[in-house]
């Protein structure tokens, strides 16, 4: 039995890798999960992302530098447009949309941080296509994660550590192991919480990380609002045309 445990531990140590941070671009991108209407003619396959600008200090809310934010936003807008059939594959043609990101507005209480993000869209040297909105807005509430009750385990570790240190044994590995266990249990607990489209459990309870999480997701909801507005408008226009004919 003991041999099986040791082999199991070794195998786990060989296979287990640190948790992967999910791609930052993907966190802003509107995927098919949003179930928004797809593009239809004449807007289908006609748009591309032009310049992306941001209000002064807007990047501070996102935890990344201004250039990184512009690049991330540009890539995620491009991916979002592609997902719903609006992207013009040829970078030299199509309608280039210029995007400006305002500083997200943040409010917070004991249990959550709420961010509202606003995007403005313009088209340089050309007529704005019908059904393309001039602005879009998204709101997201980041909830504070719950913590698993590992008090008993921590107390046992600390008590044992005190005894072990006094006996000349420094249990650094043991303390680290307890930190890992605690993190795993928190993740297990939070995996069972259910969030809506405009709210979610933040990966960490620190106010800075909750603000960042809320700002990123609010911007994603704003991009979704932009795509949804185009889809709804196109569907309504198609219905009108059908009614006239």
């Amino acid at each position: 039995m003991a041999k099986r445990l040791v082999i199991g531990g070794l195998l786990a140590a060989a296979v287990v890798q640190p948790a992967f941070a999910q791609s930052r671009v993907d966190m802003f991108t509107v995927s098919g999960r949003f179930e928004l209407p797809k593009a239809a003619p004449p807007l289908a396959g006609t748009l591309r992302v032009g310049t992306v600008t941001q209000a002064k200090d807007a990047d501070l809310q996102f935890g990344i530098g201004p250039n990184a934010l512009k690049t991330t936003l540009s890539q995620s807008l491009q991916a979002s447009l592609r997902n719903f059939g609006y992207l013009q594959a040829d970078a030299a043609s199509g309608v280039a949309i210029n995007v400006e990101l305002a500083s997200p507005k943040l409010t917070s209480d004991k249990e959550s941080v709420t961010a509202t993000s606003r995007l403005s869209f313009t088209v340089k040297d050309g007529a704005v296509p019908a059904c393309m909105p001039a602005s879009a807005e998204g709101t997201f509430q980041a909830l504070k994660p719950k913590k698993a009750d590992t008090g008993g385990s921590w107390l046992a570790t600390l008590a044992f550590s005190a005894v072990a240190v006094s006996a000349g044994y420094i249990p650094t590995g043991l303390v680290q192991s307890q930190v890992d266990n605690s993190a795993s249990q928190n993740a297990a607990l939070n995996a069972r919480r259910v969030g809506g489209k405009a709210e979610g459990v933040a990966p960490s309870g620190s106010s800075t990380e909750m603000q960042t999480y809320a700002a990123i997701n609010a911007t994603q909801v704003a991009i979704a609002d932009f795509i949804n507005a185009m889809g709804v408008c196109q569907a309504a226009a198609a219905q009108q045309t059908a009614a006239v004919n």
């Binding site: 060989a14 698993a148 570790t157 249990p171 590995g173 795993s184 249990q185 993740a187 297990a188 995996a191």
Partner: protein, 172 residues
Amino acid sequence: MKKVLVLIAAVVALAGCVSIPPNPLTPDARQALFVKDVAATWALTPPKKEPKKPVDPVEFKAAQTDVETRLTAAVGNAFASSPAGADGVTFKIEIKRFTPGFLGSVGGDVTVIRVADNKVLGVYTDVFGADTSGAQGGLIGLAIAAASKPDSIGIMSNQFATNLRARFERKK
């Protein structure tokens, strides 16, 4: 000193032998999808009494239900916002190995199925998750972890999801 160096070289060489199957999905294919649903099925039956370690089939059944819920939640969480493509897929987990309790483990294959046409895009074989509570603390750590009764199924489910994410991220 020479012996130590030879030993280190041997350990490094052996570590390199831990083979992980190639990624069944290309980077382009991965970017085009998002995980819409995660489901778990069982490819094993509750064990009958083993001679040395009796397993209560009722308790095992309860643990099976728990692992099914927690495993699907953990995998869903690991792929919640990424990838962010247009095509919805289901991750179908076929659980082939499961040992409940402290230092238990769960393992199986994960089939990626496109929702639109039920096409199988790829299979991640032998994904594995274990409750290694206290393993880093040696025997003392194991003793304390056993006494504190950690959330074994939660831990092994999260490790399974982390390992699957790592396999999914691999370039080749």
